[in-house]
Subunit: 202 residues, 2 copies
């Protein structure tokens, strides 16, 4: 092995360790509240030493913030990727909701972020409502696009229907979270989609 490759390998190992710690923290934050979660449980859950954990995250609050920001990145990536696809405004709007639903059902970091965001106390919840604001902005732009390309009825109130969509999405997320830790979210969204389509379609 050449001397040059060593730093790269070390760097990759550090990235892998960080990922493992975030996954472990996500599982801990999914089981218990922020206040109950213990720094050393995260070490145990992720298989990292407490030294390595401390090297990457100085405190439990740092860990929670890293999870919330990873959640936001992943949700925003799905929103923006789907928004950039081909399709009518209506199709993309419904696809955004379906794709976000699948992300939430499958991704433990996103799930942990949702749990953290809903807790009344803690040092971390101020920044937690960001993804919802992003979603409202994009829903509004997609409803407007659908009105422009005539996939959505021209008489709908864009702001109102963007809010309705946002509300339906959040409600589905919360109910499936209570029901079965988000397993049913894609199915719930799929079930409601024809009704939303009927409400909006031109």
């Amino acid at each position: 092995m050449s001397a040059q490759r060593m730093p790269q390998l070390k760097q990759q190992r550090s990235i892998d360790t960080r990922e493992a710690i975030l996954s472990g923290a996500a599982r801990v934050f999914s089981r218990v509240t922020y206040a109950e979660a213990r720094y050393r449980d995260v070490a145990a859950e992720s298989g990292a030493s407490e030294g390595a954990l401390y090297f990457h995250f100085r405190s439990k609050a740092d860990l929670a913030k890293a999870i919330l920001s990873a959640q936001q990145e992943r949700m925003t990536a799905v929103l923006l990727d789907t928004e950039a696809e081909d399709g009518s405004g209506l199709e993309i709007l419904l696809r955004v909701m379906a794709n976000l639903g699948s992300l939430i059902a499958d991704d433990e970091i996103v799930q942990a972020g949702i749990q953290l965001a809903g807790q009344p106390s803690s040092e971390v919840t101020a920044e937690a409502s960001e993804p919802y604001l992003e979603w409202v902005r994009i829903a509004r732009s997609l409803v407007a696009r659908g009105v422009a390309d005539q996939s959505i009825r021209v008489d709908v109130d864009v702001d109102l229907y963007a809010e309705l969509f946002n509300t339906v999405f959040v409600g589905s997320q919360v109910l499936s979270g209570l029901e079965d830790h988000w397993t049913s979210l894609p199915r719930r969204i799929q079930r409601l989609t024809p009704a939303l389509e009927a409400i909006l379609a031109a």
Copy 2:
């Protein structure tokens, strides 16, 4: 004062103390998570002695369960009272949502119950999804009544629109909770009502 009135007065004082403790506990559970809430903070917040607190509630879990069951009673009372009023199925359905929204915006016990219900851990959350199930059942019966009395379009899928209503209600509740501790909930519901009416009206 006659000897007969003494037990009644004592009983009333005991009821008042219990109410004061529940209110104090509600304020504590609204500020911090279940895990962070301390039994002695509830005593301080409610102005009760720790002895009186212990007489009424043996543990923090007992307190939380009492709040969840008071929340359920109050929500169910609003649901049933509104369901029994005069009006078409559609009118009552929309009124149920408005009345529940006002209850949540105004009642600190109900607010604390919602907060407790959303927390991932704790000994108390198993019984917390009850009010939502009650709401789905009543929404379904009101949609069916609206179809029967022709205030709601006969071609709607009763189960699907009951679920849509439930989802919109829960989503509004969660978003207003994040935004401003439910102050905006009645306004949000009022804003969405014409859209829901347009979707359902015969």
